[in-house]
Symmetry: T
Subunit: 140 residues, 12 copies
């Protein structure tokens, strides 16, 4: 199954700072991705949490047959635990960021988890989820 996992503050998407991030909510994205998965006869699971621990709990249950689209939010820059978790599980994990993190504050340019992910997609707004999903669907 394909899991779309979202870190802290991504539940605010489309509700706050809409002048920057647009008015697409996480629910909108979920619907789009579910449609896209359905057309490809794939199953999709959607998850968001502000709790690092809950994200770890979620990821730890996955197996080699699972695939993950992960938007770590702020955790990507600070959580060694998240990195260790991705290393430990056998799932393919793709890191996505809505904004181009390389064009922002210095501390956002270093992602602890990038080295243990399959690849990174950053800066295409909410399209990053669809881009990642498309790649996963084609690979099957």
């Amino acid at each position: 199954m394909i899991h779309v996992v979202n870190g802290p503050n991504l539940n605010l998407l489309g509700k706050r700072e809409t002048e920057i991030y647009g008015k697409t909510t996480l629910a909108d994205i979920q619907r789009q991705l579910e449609d896209l998965a359905f057309c490809n006869s794939a199953e999709i699971s959607f998850f968001q949490s502000n709790h690092e621990g809950e994200i770890l709990d979620y990821l730890q249950k996955l197996t080699a047959r699972d695939q993950v689209i992960l938007n770590p939010g702020g955790l990507g820059h600070t959580s060694v635990a998240l990195r260790d978790c991705i290393s430990a599980i056998d799932s393919t994990v793709i890191e996505v960021h809505l904004s181009n993190i390389f064009a922002r504050e210095t501390f956002r340019r270093k992602s602890l988890i990038s080295p243990v992910c399959k690849g990174v997609i950053s800066g295409f707004g909410s399209d990053v989820y669809k881009i990642a999903l498309n790649w996963l669907l084609e690979r099957v």
Copy 2:
């Protein structure tokens, strides 16, 4: 409403390391602030958690009419997620620290959240809460 939000370990205030931090507990502080708010016909809400996620959940529900006195504890030095959350919400947030963090270990001198707060008050012991509350009450 005015929210007094306290990060990890602040529930130990007045119970441990009393030779450093004094014997005033967080409950004592809460009572003082509630009295002060009552005298000014203001409403106050008090919150403490050792869980970063719970603090994010709490803050995300606030609106532009809310105001926050935030003692982030150790999270201020490490949590990009907390910084992102403060950026996202519309409430005025004041960062307070009981001790003068600039007179302590090097890693405590860099606060990730200071740049997105209205202001910083550091080093007056438990009075930092009252100082912040007074300023908020006067501004109304």
Copy 3:
């Protein structure tokens, strides 16, 4: 028109170090992308050079109606001139890397051009071109 621009050493793709980069050559990739573009009634132009100056000459001629998929090779880490050029032109530029540059040597993790590109796609092998092209085709 969509331009696929490749920096130094990418002409060796599929011929050297095939155990790392696979046997797909740049010509193979060109054919795939041309097919994909043709199916979408889009025009595509393919370019590779080992000369920084030639890449600058090429990019400078583009206009706001052009779109660029750029694999800068080693130049992305060292060329301020390439960065200035991307800033100056009005075309949308997408940065792609075959390997996950964040899982490699330290000096490869800092890209000078990322901050002036629309977005970054890194680590999906030769699929990065197709991913970028698909996104550009959908946007039209």
Copy 4:
């Protein structure tokens, strides 16, 4: 006595860059603080200088019965002599900054004098003086 000491360029307050710092002048602030002190039967002394040496001369004359509200201006980031002076005298010194220095250029985030001050108040505009004075008046 309570001494309000202001470093270089603070005499320009309210006259230059008013779009940033507002139209309150240092004279306005002085009047407000004097009123506030008068109501509390406290004495207040106001001082501003562009000369590091004059500020040192002023501070050196103070005793343990004096209390200082110090806005060091640019000197706070560069003057070891000012730090040594604060260490040497017995007065309580509170460091205040009109703007939130942590949200500005990197070199402003490091204050040499913070470690030897009682506390720091930063980012509430001209209110920082009143906040500090209130705290000092209550403590008496």
Copy 5:
């Protein structure tokens, strides 16, 4: 009582990456330590969590009569809150790591909690728990 506290991802021990960490699970370790404690008429309590907050909650309840063997996992490198918590409580805390953290990535070599622990034992595989427990048992 002696508390064995394990941070994020340690519940995966013996189940994932067994070629690196061996096939001993956390449950196996728990049984060994309980046997060892029983033979020495000591009581032992075992705890694991992926949630920083739960670990803080757990540790805060301990007293000077408790002793802790702490494997912080990734939290040891990032959590100022965990450090503050260890400083605040009166229990003796021993930091253990299965692998030799000094032979791994640079960011793993700096532990925020080492300076506030009694001592550090790193690199003897799952034996680190037994080594620490033996030392605690002998000291009683």
Copy 6:
């Protein structure tokens, strides 16, 4: 003879990003400088290239009787080869920059070639060429 040598992207001057750099083109500047040189009975040669190698080829042919006004563009921050070339030739070389490079991104503040140039003029827009030429003409 006096040589005005321009590095990468300066051919775009006055055509792109005109809101920043103004509408004066490199051709305009060339005409102005040629007029100024003509009035002073001096000969002038104008050169621009996006190719580091061509600039090196050009400079290497100069002798002690030649004088150079060099706007290195992005090469000034990255090219040790350009620095070595300036060191090797006997011509007086003046480094000019249209914008004040010290007020821009950090990586632009370090120029590899400044230490081997006669002097640096930065930040007066297209006037930097005229300022440098005037100084050279007066010195003859």
Copy 7:
């Protein structure tokens, strides 16, 4: 009016270390500039001080109609107060240095005031004043 402001030790020009800085004194420079200004019907004012505070006092009195040629001497590398002052006043300020500061000790290569000046001229000996004055005279 055009103000030529000189920082610490520039009064020694032409009297000490003449083998490095030549025998032109500050008085000689003043005479040359006054002549040049007179020929252009411009007024000029000359000022030197070893006291940071006096330089701040002087600059603070200037208005948008004034223009400044500033040789900060050693203060340019260390004085945040001088930087703040230049930011605050509305006059155009040109930073000049007799020697090429980029070819000297590392600590001289970083100027705190360059980012808030109009431009920088460095390394043409005492001609830097004349170059700056000429540019100012032409602009009128």
Copy 8:
């Protein structure tokens, strides 16, 4: 055979700075370890030197059947030669430190030899030798 190797200044143990390191001398420790080895029918050899060269000479003679408990003293932070020696020999080497080196000066926190040792035990006073010996004895 098990070798206990001690670097510079450890011969002073128990004789100087006893308020810090206690009154247990190296001879005392030797006796304890010999007793413990004897009870386990193991042979032990004790060595101390202030000379880096002698320690290298000693270690180079060991074989894969030897095991080493090494307290490098100050050499651990500075000696690449010691690191190379440990890499070259086939013996298991355990690094021990009496004090918790992570709670001391910054330069003590980086050990050059840790990455090539089996493991590190730091901060349990003179017990570190016994802890290491016990582990070695159990492994046989």
Copy 9:
């Protein structure tokens, strides 16, 4: 075949800065090496360019039967593209420098290409070519 490849500015050898580099020209060196190769019945090819791209073009054509003596000039310190090229080709590459680069400016001490070359010879003047050639000839 053995290829002697020279980077930017090496064509100036023996013509400029002869007091430092001596009067031996690159042509002289070529003649000496050709003689030496002829005596050993080996073929030699000589190449110099100021263009990074031409050097890459040249190197990319080589096979495992080719061997390279490479004096990268300034490119060795700045060109990731050159490093990638050397990694990609199968030829043995020896890095040579006329001067002892470790006794010069800091930025010259870091060579990007050294880690991917067979070895480095630095500081014996024009003899470095002969030393490298001799070693290659003996190995055949």
Copy 10:
């Protein structure tokens, strides 16, 4: 003549922080040095100022026949102007510090003026003046 020049805060010597610096005042030191000079038929001049500018004014008047014992106080760590001044004048300058600055805060360990002084004497309390004077007297 021999000049004893004291920077900021040294006038407080013996009056504040006497538990650290002792009860010897600057006046006491002056008397001792004058006696010592008198016995050696040497003339001595004593100067203290909190103003950087006054110290520069004072030093600039000295000639090659003058000799200086300079306790720069905090200025030694921050004043490039003071360094330039010492470089410019022809007098022998000896830097003295009452405390051992190398055993104090990190920012005190770097003295900007040491490289341009004849020598440095640090850490013998008020004896540093006498030690320096003795050396100067013997040299005559």
Copy 11:
């Protein structure tokens, strides 16, 4: 005379880690070099020590007529004393390393002695000695 001086651990050459360094022992190398020297009627002296002090003693006795091939082992990265010694003596010293030190750990890339040696040869296995000797023999 030509002296071949070897630092710590080089006596282990060919005996330990033979999969990396090969089976050539230091005795083998000595024999080869002696043969080569004999054929050229040159005298050679061979020395190895694990003691920094003995190496210094050895080198200090040499004169301008002596020449040194020095493999410093780990000392090259750490010993200022060795650097000072090479500076002090008049012999030509060539630094050699068996492995390419630039392709290894970061701390091995910085050699303290390179700046005071004639040249550096690194990465050709045990041939580095022969390469250096050949160059010395030819120069005579």
Copy 12:
């Protein structure tokens, strides 16, 4: 007794690099100091070694009644063992350097032992010994 201890290479004093260090040998200095001590009825012991270990052996035998003038040579910048030794013994230790180490290479400006010495005297040539001895003799 007063011990004058000299580190590596100081035995070369007056014999090598005499243009820098003068022609005074260590024996000359010894004679001068012995005369000076004799006149003051003090006993003096002189020691030099190129071996760190021998210097440690020597220093470890001293007691609180001994006093040390220590010229550590290169060891002062690299030896944690020497620092630990000085910390451990009860003798007063004065660090002396012939040259002004602050005016030399960067790596010489950091002395590991300064923080644990009584004081530092640097830059008066061979007089540093006499200056230190005089201070010790007066203190008795």
